[in-house]
Amino acid sequence: MQTPIATTRSATGIPTGRLAIWWVVASEIVIFGGLLLSYVMHRIGHPEWAIAQAHTHTFVGAFNTFVLLTASFTAVKGHEAAEKGDGKKAAKFLYLTMGGACLFILVKSLEWTSEILEGYTIQANGFWAFYYTAAGLHALHVIAGAIVIFFVARDAAKGRNLQRVEYVGIYWHFVDIIWIFLFPLLYIAK
C-alpha cells in the first residue's frame, strides 16, 4: 500500500494533512467567532430583540442539535473503524453522518420556510438579520461537509485514503461545536 505524503511528511509531529485541517479550523474560529461575538454585542445593546427572538422555535433547534451530536458520534466511530483499517465500516459510519447532515438541512429548510411565511425575513430587523446570516453560514458548512464526507466515504469503502476519515471528522466536529454555541445564542437566551 502506498504511503500518502499527507501522513508521512511532518515537521511538527502532526501529519501534514491533519495539521492543514487544524489551520482550517483556526480560520473558521475567526470567521464564526467574529460573527457570533458581533451578534452578542448587538444583542446586549438591543434589549428589544428579545421580542423578535421569542419567535424562534426552541424544540426545532434542540432537535437539530441532537441530529448534529449524533452525526458527530457516527463520524468519530468512522474514524475509529478507519484506524483499525476497516474502510467499509468507516464508510458506513460516514454515510450515517451524511444522512444526519441532510436531515439537519431538511429541518432547517422547513423551519425557515415557516418563519419567512410569518413575515420574519432577513430584513425584518437586526435580530433576524443575524439569525439568518449566522445559521445560514453554518448551514453552508453543513452542506460542504456532507459533500466532502461523501467523497471521503466512497474512497474509504475501497480502502483508499483512510487517513482522510479522521481529517473530515475534525472539520465535522468543529461544525458541530459552532452549532453547540449557536443553539443557546439564538434559541435559548431569549
Partner: protein, 240 residues
C-alpha cells in the same frame, strides 16, 4: 495508514458514553428555559454549551491527545477573538458615551418596543400591561426614574446631555454635534414651532420634523402625555 500515524494516534475512549453525556447535557440546557429565571437559563445554556464543546473537542476531535502545537494554533485564534470583543464591544453594547450618542441605535430600540396601544398580535388580553412593564424594565437605564414623572428631572437627566442643564444647547454632547442642539432660551427658537411639532420631535426624533437626525426618538420612554409635559417645561426655559 502509516506506522507513524498508528503510533501517535491510538486513543479511542468509549464514544458511546460521551455521546450519551452530550445528549443529557442538551436536555439540561432545554429544561433550563422552563425555569423562567434568567440567570438559571443563561448558566444552563452557556455553561452547558462550554462543557459540550470541550467534550467534543477533546474526545471527538482528539485534541486531548494531539501535539501541543495544534492547541496553540487554535488558542491564538481564540485569543484574537477575545481582543476583538474587548476592543469593539464598548462601542456596540452601549448607545451613548460621554461624547457621543448613537441615534440610529436608540431609534431602532424605540421602534422595536411595541406601543401600549398596539399590543403584540396574538398576545393574551393581559399582555399590554406586561409588555409595558417589560418595556419599562428594558429601558430602565435610559429612563430617569420609576418614581412619578417629573419633566424637570427628565430634562436634567436625559435632554441636558446635549441641550444643556438650562436648555441653552450647550450640554457636554453638543461639542460633537453639527448642527448644534436647539437653544430653548433663544426667542428665535420659538418663532416657528408649534407645540405639536415639538411633541413629535421628542417622541419620533428630529428627522421626523425635518430637523437634525441627531435628536433621538424618545417615544419608547415618553408617552404622548409626558411629551406634552416636556414641551410645557421647555416653555418655562424661554427667555431665562
Amino acid at each position: 495508514m502509516s506506522e507513524q500515524d498508528r503510533d501517535t494516534h491510538q486513543h479511542h475512549p468509549d464514544y458511546w458514553k460521551i455521546y450519551v453525556a452530550l445528549v443529557i447535557l442538551l436536555a439540561i440546557s432545554v429544561v433550563g428555559t422552563f425555569s423562567g429565571i434568567l440567570w438559571i437559563t443563561f448558566i444552563m445554556a452557556f455553561g452547558v454549551a462550554l462543557v459540550k464543546a470541550t467534550l467534543v473537542a477533546e474526545n471527538f476531535m482528539h485534541l486531548k491527545w494531539e501535539k501541543v502545537i495544534a492547541k496553540w494554533v487554535l488558542g491564538i485564534a481564540l485569543i484574537l477573538m477575545v481582543l476583538f470583543f474587548a476592543g469593539v464591544s464598548p462601542d456596540i453594547m452601549k448607545d451613548r458615551g460621554l461624547q457621543w450618542v448613537n441615534n440610529a441605535d436608540l431609534a431602532a430600540t424605540a421602534r422595536g418596543i411595541p406601543d401600549e396601544e398596539e399590543p403584540e398580535k396574538g398576545a393574551p388580553a393581559s399582555a399590554p400591561d406586561s409588555t409595558k412593564a417589560a418595556a419599562a424594565t428594558q429601558t430602565a437605564a435610559a429612563a430617569p426614574a420609576a418614581a412619578p414623572f417629573s419633566p424637570e428631572t427628565t430634562f436634567k437627566t436625559v435632554c441636558a446631555a446635549c441641550h444643556g442643564p438650562e436648555g441653552e444647547g450647550n450640554g457636554p454632547g453638543a461639542a460633537a454635534l453639527n448642527p448644534k442642539p436647539a437653544n430653548f432660551t433663544d426667542p428665535a427658537f420659538w418663532t416657528d414651532k408649534t407645540d405639536s411639532v415639538l411633541e413629535k420631535a421628542i417622541r419620533q426624533g428630529g428627522a421626523s420634523v425635518g430637523k437634525s437626525s441627531a435628536m433621538p426618538a424618545w417615544g419608547s420612554i415618553l408617552t404622548e402625555a409626558q411629551a406634552k409635559q416636556m414641551v410645557a417645561y421647555l416653555h418655562t426655559l424661554k427667555g431665562k
